[in-house]
Amino acid sequence: MLFDRRPILLANARIIDPSRELDFAGDLLIADGLIRDAKRGIGAAGVPEGTEIVDCRGNVVAPGLIDMRAFVGEPGGEHRETLSSASQAAAAGGVTTIISQPDTTPVVDDPAVVDFVQRRARDTAIVHVHPMAALTKGLKGEEMSEIGLLKAAGAVAFTDGARSIVNAQVMRRALTYARDFEALIVHHTEDPNLVGEGVMNEGEFAARLGLMGVPKAAETIMLERDLRLVALTGGRYHAASLTCAESLEVLRRAKDAGLPVTASASINHLTLNEIDVGHYRTFFKLSPPLRAEDDRKALVTALAEGLIDVVMSDHNPQDVEVKRLPFAEAAFGAVGIETMLAAGLRLVHSGEVKLATLLKAMSSRPAELLGLPGGTLRPGAPADVIVIDPDVPWVLDRNELKSKCRNTPFDEARMQGRVLRTIVAGRTVYEYV
């Protein structure tokens, strides 16, 4: 792929840098893949010759988003998504860094597979990709993986992806061992025995549809257990996807006690609820399941307060073969990397979350947790930058999505705000025209 390598001046912008809590009108200069300057009135006069000057017309310039939880099909599930197609979708959604999950075939539990993902991404993807590696070998929840070697190979965190580790002893040892390497453990908190045959939130709606429910306790019990193990071990821990008010209480207590604990919420759980399942709409079949409206509201409040650290897409491409099935038999998951920001802006327009807070949870906060250099507009930082029109209205057509799969819960949704330009390492990789 050929990219324009000229310097870029993003002029007349509203510059929001959540890493420094800055929000001001000014210009941002990019050259040699780095952010050179961000201040008021750089202007056309103060830039090198040949600079591409982009008039942002008051639109927002922010750090490129870091999506902390995306399931990509490669290796092993290339019919669903490749690193290339995921990166195209990411760029269109303003995501400049994908954190891929280890649930692939083969599993990312070997330094060679970490290396493979990074090389394939380097050769085929238009945004950065950093893999999380498996916390246990084969994602079996039994023996811990080579945390030290995997980290040295480039794994940014350790997780069993969409699976939970049932054995508390395994989790305790992993947290203890990971502490020596300052490795972050990310855990999907759902007790699989309590989930049982459950396919949606437990309650009246599941009962009416004749579907088995997943109780909120499946999540809260696992989270509570984990946080007690964190207290015991001191390992760094991140809850992968919290969904309900009860879990937020547990999280708050652990944070108040000073434990090294953080948490994500998915864009789906922040903007949708169980009623969206309607009559067996499998694109809304998610793990963990969409909860009640009260839980959604609690999550949004927690995001606004900073109790929820990270908003991620939980991007999970599933093709029609596994989605056009009766609800109980259909696969879990929804694509989301391309719509995460637009959906998140709903919370901004409704007045529930400040734009800077949303951007922080999607960029600078994940960068801090994962030790990545992005997520900031500080001069000298890598030029991963996006331009957003936060107000333009549009309607999502799933056939226009860049992902190989179209299982979006936002088909035909009215959106307000979109990404106009995505710049990765100083090169424009996406432009909305």
Partner: protein, 317 residues
């Protein structure tokens, strides 16, 4: 002899996917029409011609004797050509998806497909992919609308009315499509519905269905006009949802003693097939208060009514 139904009721829906979505007048219209077929079915000459030239496919993904036979007979008595798809030996077992099956059958131009499937919502999914009418003959734990209609017809014929009757539905409410359809139908017609079950067999949120909930048969059956027993599946008997069949029968099995808690003229129903000695005692099942055989008879009449009422919407009908 050819009996032309007197009722001119037409169901204002293309499919019958559930009781949910039917109005009170839809339900009463179907029951009135079914009454006429009860009479027809008791004659020597049982044939009508209203579905002559029409094709009905019975597509059963789950084994069923009585429902399948009932639909087959109903279709044949109305003059339709009836085909039974035996799923056990078909390509569905070879990995063909439900939607592929629907598209394949649709290409054969059936007029009505009757579907039973083990997954909730599966019949609705299939209905979205075909051009003909679809009747839900039971989908997972969701709905079984013709069962609820035949139960209502049976009750109405014996009690004259459904309004204000106390109906106790007992047993595995959690997994029962019969219970869900009956709760909606009986509430629509103004009955007082109770559910009686151990807490492990009650779906969370049941108290929001407009029913009285109790875990005790004595309390649940007190003053009941109708007792509906539900089947407890074998795999749920031993330790998973209830400790044993013995314990279940002791607390929830309908025997003479528990029947005595209900009104003296209370009637007993069961959608079949029964587990004698698990949810119901043989003496009660075969006793004077049992309506179980009558339910089967009403089943054919109700299914004829549903087929007839849907077919009146067909082009050139």
């Amino acid at each position: 002899m050819n009996i032309v139904p007197k009722s001119s009721f037409v169901l204002g829906h293309r499919h019958l996917l559930g009781i949910e979505g039917l109005s009170r007048s839809d339900i009463i219209g179907l029951l009135d029409l079914a009454e006429e077929f009860v009479e027809l079915n008791r004659q020597i000459e049982k044939k009508s011609t209203s579905l002559r030239g029409r094709t009905l496919i019975n597509l059963f993904f789950e084994a069923s004797t009585r429902t399948q036979a009932s639909f087959e007979l109903a279709g044949k008595r109305l003059g339709a050509d009836v085909m039974n798809m035996a799923v056990g030996s078909s390509s569905i077992r070879k990995g063909e998806t439900l939607i592929d099956t629907a598209v394949t059958l649709n290409a054969m131009h059936p007029d009505i497909i009757v579907v039973r499937h083990y997954a909730s919502g599966a019949v609705e999914l299939l209905a979205q992919k075909v051009d003909c009418s679809v009747i839900n003959a039971g989908d997972g734990s969701h709905e079984h609308p013709t069962q609820a209609l035949l139960d209502a017809l049976t009750i109405r014929r014996r009690k004259g009315n459904i309004e204000r009757l106390v109906v106790a539905i007992c047993g595995d409410i959690l997994h029962s499509r019969v219970a869900r359809s009956n709760i909606i139908l009986l509430n629509t017609l103004g009955a007082r519905v109770r559910v009686v079950a151990p807490s492990t067999l009650l779906p969370p949120g049941i108290e929001r269905f407009g029913v009285e909930v109790t875990r005790d048969m004595r309390e649940g059956l007190a003053g009941a006009d109708i007792i509906m027993m539900l089947r407890l599946q074998r795999e749920r008997m031993n330790g998973s949802f209830v400790p044993s069949t013995q314990e279940y029968f002791y607390y929830y099995g309908l025997d003479q003693k528990k029947l005595g808690y209900a009104k003296p003229d209370a009637l007993v129903m069961h959608p079949g097939p029964m587990n004698r000695g698990v949810e119901i005692d043989s003496i009660v099942a075969d006793g004077a208060q049992s309506l179980i055989r009558e339910q089967v008879e009403m089943g054919v009449a109700v299914r004829m009514a549903v087929l007839e009422a849907l077919s009146r919407n067909f082009p050139n009908a």
